[in-house]
Symmetry: C2
Subunit: 199 residues, 2 copies
């Protein structure tokens, strides 16, 4: 009954996230997940209570990582005495790293939330809300002329912008990772600046 991370569990979660992102939670069978890690079907129940539990752990995990990483970045910027612009850039950069390096998880994050049992969904939503509020606070510190409502809507929109990377399936003829990160950063910053300028 330990919640500790064994290699097997992590391997299962990795493959499950990939499959869920590719074909949707309901579109993947437990036999498929098992096959992806070299065991078959019901052996998964030695590691997880059920299919739902895998999705729950994935979504809670990613939401926690986003929120905690965001908090850390904002705190570090504050301790270093940096201006709010630096905190915002750090938030943007952290989110971009996540979107580029964990595309499957980002996809699940805003696509399969409704497939969770009610209790777990509440927990994930709370983590997401705290992450959004963190962004809203920093954004409003950078752009004090921007009221709260449009600030929150803008943050959501910027998430949509940054999370758009997984939809780019064809790897060819696209910028490489570093160029893509820089481009997304400029897009996000430009969007927020324009939002504030019009308010």
């Amino acid at each position: 009954m330990t919640t500790h991370a064994t290699p097997r569990r992590e391997q299962i979660l990795r493959e499950a996230s990939r499959l869920f992102a590719e074909r949707g939670f309901h579109g993947v069978g437990v036999d498929e997940i098992g096959a992806a890690v070299g065991i078959s079907g019901p052996a998964l129940y030695r590691h997880f209570a059920g299919k739902d539990a895998m999705l729950t752990e994935l979504l809670v995990g990613i939401s926690s990582r986003l929120r905690d990483g965001g908090r850390r970045r904002v705190a570090e910027a504050a301790e270093a005495g940096l201006p709010p612009e630096a905190a915002l850039d750090s938030l943007i950069g952290g989110h971009i790293d996540f979107a580029l390096d964990d595309r499957a998880l980002i996809t699940l994050h805003d696509r399969e939330l409704d497939r969770l049992p009610e209790a777990d969904r509440k927990q994930v939503r709370q983590l997401q809300r705290q992450y959004v509020e963190l962004w809203v606070e920093v954004v409003r510190r950078v752009y004090p002329e921007l009221p709260e409502a449009p600030a929150r809507a803008s943050v959501h929109a910027v998430f949509g912008l940054l999370n758009s990377t997984p939809h780019l399936s064809r790897p060819s003829s696209l910028p490489d990772r570093d160029e893509m990160a820089a481009l997304l950063h400029r897009l996000a910053r430009g969007a927020l600046t324009a939002a504030a300028a019009g308010a």
Copy 2:
């Protein structure tokens, strides 16, 4: 065997799109769709060949409307002798109208494509590609200094930004429709301007 639009068909498609967006294609049963329009279960097969056919018609319909509407707007701007900026603003405005007024369809559009049978998926992808290329051409006319690869990536990102509205579930404490449309327009324009400025 007519493909014409009877009221019943349209009603079914409306409810199906709502349900698919809420709980995912695999998460909705045909009995549920039937119940939503007041008939029950297998009666749907008097109007559609099957569940897949409903999703196909929804996705082909929305992709066609987006592409055709976009082409019309670009053509109109050209005929009126307007500068490319006007065509871009018209594209953005049209997409925003769509995102705000047909949230369910926008959600399906970038979420359930993989659930289509291969042949239909090819058709939808072609329509989507043509719509993207339309945007890329206009964007590059407005920002000639922006190379093609980052232009395409930016267009995808702007789609993600504009399509983010459905994720805002709580209607309270958010801008109303017109403010939201104006805000999204500024965000999109600001993002593209910033992308071009950094290139």
